[in-house]
Symmetry: C2
Subunit: 458 residues, 2 copies
């Protein structure tokens, strides 16, 4: 049956996945008066104490807040955040250099994934239009019949539910996406690839007095060229740390088995961490080593019946802090398209893929490139110099020049545009350094620097 | 339980898929005394009359025959073949130009996919070591427990079977491969992409006297730059034709709906076909428009429990006539590795991926490139000239120069090597044409041409 031209308030919507994106989308739909079921595989995280060990802290920035603003939650969420105004770059000697993220004191916001997810689920629970179902594993999604087969992970019971419209918001290893992969004639392009690096979560506890053992309002990085550690602040005074390291090779996770090997590795590369992490060995041995996947696919939707969004459509690596922000922006754009073409789901879904796919491809590529920037370049004098020139130009000529990081994190400039402009900027910065010489860095505070730089950007 | 160091004759092998590769592999294993079940989703094609409409004719060449030779079937199979010594290139005016494939009269062999599959199944049926099961859809493959869940497509019955070792030979849309995709920690890289072109099978009937309406011993091509038709001879005097055409756009399948549109398209681009295909409209309307996928993945195996092979590991487009040949060569190399490391399945599987993956990647890329060659370049004077020089050098200096097509189709040179050498050749051929001028074509039969060409290749 064709959904088009039916009053969308009379349809029944099934969202596969009740993570960040699924829960936000449910609230967005419910506010439009749409009856929505959220089908989540895991338990209700509001009722459990989480073990952690596999959730990179999230950095909420402009795009995510914009989407949360749609449902009136931006201010409440901000109370759960710790603003990080810049990178705190730690060298092996223990020296720390702060590199601001913005040019006007902007910050990205450290937030607990689970805390935010709980809040969104609670918000969804308040709505009469939303029903939440937990422990429901999607076993099969029949897009032609619009039936979903669910297995209750506790009871083993199999149920079949029918929805008019499906949203697949079930993450990188999406079961909903499998239904597209199995659909004949769709010519579903799919690409899943992994970095050679994996990651492991570690932990810096609060100070004895309850404060933070490192600068609270920064994202800490220990760049070591081919690998790195990062740390993001938590509200309780602790930091969640993540070690990103090659899975195989000379210096890699596969070489870190015994306690002695682990301690020797940290002693050599992160000597300051040993005193900061009294439970280093406990966490290192207990927490899994996880993988970093990038997933790209096309098309995201099938007729007027289903679309993917969030990680299910475009899983990216975490190095630009944009995975959640991009997924939330998906919800924002979906909301706009629904308002623009009410009830015309085929058009909504086609426009959604057409608008979002080039942008999610762009942020996927930028995120991989940012791994090199974080683990290596932030300690590179040439990069530091260009970064300073970039910011100086951005401050002097705000109408003409916005640094790429600012575009991505503090504006809603489409990612694809940010990438293109940022790449053009990078070439100009190379030219400036080549023509003006490396001592340009010393002249950035001079009164006439504007005249020097202006000729390169007009 | 670990399979290593157990006598491989005491293990039980499950092959998912009884198509060309699955059936050949079963016979190969059975000849080593290994007890093997073949689990095929479709009916037993030996008992049914096939409708056709979706099977590009196959071109059996050296690698495929080499593998069939292992099980003593090469000569019998050759009796089912029609040798094709070259391409017969048809222009819109009805002119035909023959371009030989080899430099010494070599041929590729037109064979019916189903005829060959029936023969291989019959051969498998002769062995006491093999059990064939049909109508068995693989619903799930649990690689840790080594259990496969099968659904009988006729009765609906679900059964679970246990094997010590699995082979996934179930084609481009492999269910066995899904088990790798779902395996945590494997970091399974997967890429599935489609050409913008689809294909549709058509049919030229035998002549009234029982002969062939076109030259029998050739692969016919009607190159039309962005699309093409091909025809391969069948034993009964007919030709199986395939139209390769863009799925969308100005000239495309989506523009060919009404009978008038179809006839107008053929009248414009393939005027000679209208009289050759009296049932053109019937076949065009009845036969599906199918897609052309390339699938690459890595790794192909999981521990010592399962490996993929054939299209399940590396589906390619058909334009080099190497899909089956590559799959059969997989069986040949698998057989050698089994003899080299008897019972050490982990090593066998790891070596198999290590050896075959670079070669299947290479033929996948060459096959896509050959589409351009077939639909466009075979009618291009520059290409025809270079092809003639290529063959002349190959004839004059057989120790130093083997044309790429010969390496791929008439030798067992690893595909990756053939690709690399062929690309180097192509640059040399460009240089020869640039330096010697286009009239080099007129001088290829001259007595001194060897001296002219030799300096470019030493």
């Amino acid at each position: 049956m064709n959904n088009e031209f039916q009053d969308p308030k009379n349809l029944h919507y099934g969202i596969v996945g009740g993570g960040l994106v699924g829960a936000l989308l449910a609230v967005v739909l419910a506010k439009k008066g749409y009856k929505t079921d959220v089908l989540e595989r895991r338990e209700d995280i509001r009722k459990t104490i989480l073990e952690g060990g596999r959730s990179i802290n999230l950095a909420l920035s402009y795009r995510g807040l914009k989407a949360l603003g749609m449902i009136g939650l931006a201010d409440e969420v901000k109370k759960m955040c710790i603003p990080m105004y810049g990178r705190a770059v730690h060298d092996t000697g223990g020296e720390v250099r702060i590199m601001p993220y913005g040019i006007n004191g902007e910050a990205i916001n450290s937030i607990s994934r689970d805390g935010l997810n709980r809040m969104l689920l609670a918000e969804a629970d308040k709505s009469e239009n939303i029903n939440l179902y937990f422990h429901q594993r999607c076993e099969n999604l029949d897009l032609n019949k619009k039936d979903i087969t669910l297995k209750d992970e506790l009871s083993g019971e199999i149920t079949k539910k029918h929805y008019d419209i499906f949203f697949g918001a079930d993450g990188a290893f999406s079961a909903a996406r499998m239904s597209l992969m199995k659909t004949d004639k769709l010519n579903f392009t799919y690409n899943q690839s992994y970095l050679n690096h994996g990651y492991k979560e570690l932990h810096i506890p609060p100070a004895e007095n309850g404060g933070w053992l490192l600068e609270k309002n920064a994202l800490h990085i220990w760049p070591r060229k081919s690998f790195m550690m990062i740390a993001l602040p938590n509200m309780d005074g602790s930091f969640t740390c993540t070690l990103f390291l090659s899975l195989k090779g000379e210096v890699s996770f596969e070489k870190l088995h015994s306690d002695a090997e682990i301690l020797s590795f940290f002693g050599q590369y992160f000597p300051d961490m040993i005193s900061l992490m009294p439970d280093l060995l406990y966490h290192f041995n207990k927490n899994p080593t996880s993988s970093l996947a990038t997933i790209k696919c096309h098309p995201w939707s099938f007729e007027d019946k289903m679309t993917l969004l969030g990680d299910a459509a475009h899983a990216i690596v975490p190095f630009y802090g944009q995975g959640m922000n991009c997924g939330f922006e998906d919800c924002y754009e979906m909301s706009n398209l629904i308002d623009m073409y009410p009830g015309d789901w085929r058009t909504i879904f086609e426009e959604f893929t057409a608008h979002r796919k080039p942008n999610s491809d762009a942020i996927a590529d930028m995120a991989i490139r940012n791994f090199v920037e974080m683990r290596d370049l932030v300690a590179d004098p040439e990069f530091i110099l260009k970064n300073a020139i970039d910011k100086t130009i951005g401050k002097l000529f705000p109408e003409k020049w916005t640094p790429m990081y600012t575009m991505v994190s503090f504006t809603e400039t489409p990612y694809a545009e940010a990438k293109m402009v940022g790449e053009a900027h990078d070439k100009i910065l190379d030219t400036i350094v080549r023509k003006e010489g490396h001592d340009i860095g010393d002249r950035l505070a001079n009164a006439d620097i504007g005249k020097v730089l202006e000729k390169y950007i007009s």
